[in-house]
Amino acid sequence: MKFKFATALTGLLAGLALLTSASVQADNSLTAITAKKSISLGIPTDFPPYGFIGTDFKPQGMDVAVAQLIADKLGVKAELTPVSTPNRIPYLQTRKIDLIVSALGKNEERAKVVDFTIAYAPFYQAVFGPKALSIKNYQDLAGKTIAVTRGTIQDDILQQVAPPTLKIQRFEDDNSTVAAFVSQQTQLLATGAAVAGVAIQKNPQIQAEYKLLLKDSPNFIGVRKGETALLDKVNEILRQAKADGTLNAYAQRWLGRGTGVLPE
């Protein structure tokens, strides 16, 4: 009887300790990063030209360059962690990564769980399809099939504006989504410009082309909610990089175009 009570009490106290310790950790990421001298950054590895694996098996691309820049300016080692669209926000929330530098667009739902820095790279999402199909506006999407990656901005937009007879088929990552379009399992593809560019180039037999703009949505860096110290520091680094032309140089190199005017 005594023995059982003691173990139960220990268990209860341990549980309580866990619960309370969880709430004490807001806004200490920057100090933790400087202390352990490394920052964990979520980057895309299947999303050229923002993040992809080069022939030397190292990640490279626009987002990877910006991630490395942030680590260098903070004076810490960069730990580049590959993330996918569905898992990047959960990874950030569960502290597996400190920043999302992965073609992250800003919208209201995401803003509820993640803090955004200023924009650092241009990006747009659109509908792509074969030349033979005429899509001039959202109503033309009625009765068609479209492939889209789950949890993306284009997924949200399609949910809101597309006619209900549009069959939206969602896949876990850009590779599967593009594979579905290229194998003609779906008639249309909704994705970012960069992804579509590569897909169309490599598959001329489909004769796909740009059809309809969904959103002009530049890339932002994602920070855990409440981490204001880290947010301010990253914004400072990005503003500096914008002012001295580093971001523009990266954009020219990886995207073949300048950054243009990026929103704050």
Binding site: A22, P86, I89, P90, Q93, E109, R110, K112, V113, A147, R150, G151, D155, Q169, R170, F171, E172, S176, A179, A180, S183, Q184, Q185
Partner: protein, 218 residues
């Protein structure tokens, strides 16, 4: 970290639709896959050499490759050969082929442990080969391997979760979608885990009741 189940349960129509599709996928692929398995088992034991070789190759390929690869092959690969299947059809086909291969080996184990005396007795009663197989060999074999077969059917039912990867709108797909919309991953996956648990328990009870009642008696 606080758990907010209400947000996720608010999407109950999507979850229910997903659950219904999971049940439908299992309801179709379980009987068809088992029949395929029994046919393949018969072929491996009694069939001609060429048939045995063909079935053997099919069984070895399916049992030695991951289910997701088989599924992707059917959904993404077959269109290149001109065969375009919808996500649901591809899922059912993949589950049937998968269950068929495993069921073949399970049922074959049952068939091969039939006492030769049973077959001799049946022959001496002038039963033909079809009657011997379906009335004398198969029912006791199925009774012997029923637990293993039921387990395999449940594994395939749980494997239907993978079909969400090709946009089949079953319950895992619904959970993933809700998780990415509400950012409540933990709650979504807890609910779906409970759903699968409930389904598996119910399926096992149902099959353990139906087997003795309809297939092999007592």
């Amino acid at each position: 970290m606080s758990l907010d189940f209400i947000v996720v349960l608010g999407q109950w129509p999507m979850l229910l639709k997903g659950l219904a599709l999971t049940c439908l996928l299992t309801a179709i692929s379980a009987p068809v896959g088992t029949c395929l398995g029994i046919a393949c088992a018969w072929s491996r034991v009694h069939g001609a050499t060429w048939l045995r070789a063909m079935v053997g190759t099919y069984v070895e390929i399916i049992r030695n490759t991951p289910f997701i690869i088989q599924l992707f092959f059917i959904f993404f690969g077959l269109p290149a050969m001109g065969i375009k299947l919808s996500a649901e059809t591809a899922s059912i086909l993949a589950m049937v082929l998968n269950l068929g291969a495993y069921a073949c080996e399970i049922v074959r184990a049952g068939i091969e442990t039939t006492h030769p005396g049973q077959i001799e007795a049946a022959q001496s009663l002038a039963l033909n080969r079809w009657q011997i197989f379906t009335r004398v060999v198969l029912p006791p074999s199925l009774a012997r391997v029923w637990p293993a077969l039921v387990s395999q059917i449940i594994i395939v039912m749980l494997g239907s979760a993978v079909c969400g990867q090709i946009s089949t709108e079953e319950i895992s797909y619904a959970a993933n979608l809700i998780a990415s919309r509400t950012f409540r991953s933990m709650e979504s996956y807890i609910i779906v885990t409970l759903a699968y648990l409930g389904l598996a328990v119910a399926l096992r009870q149902a099959l353990n009741w139906a087997g003795p009642r309809f297939i092999f008696g007592r």
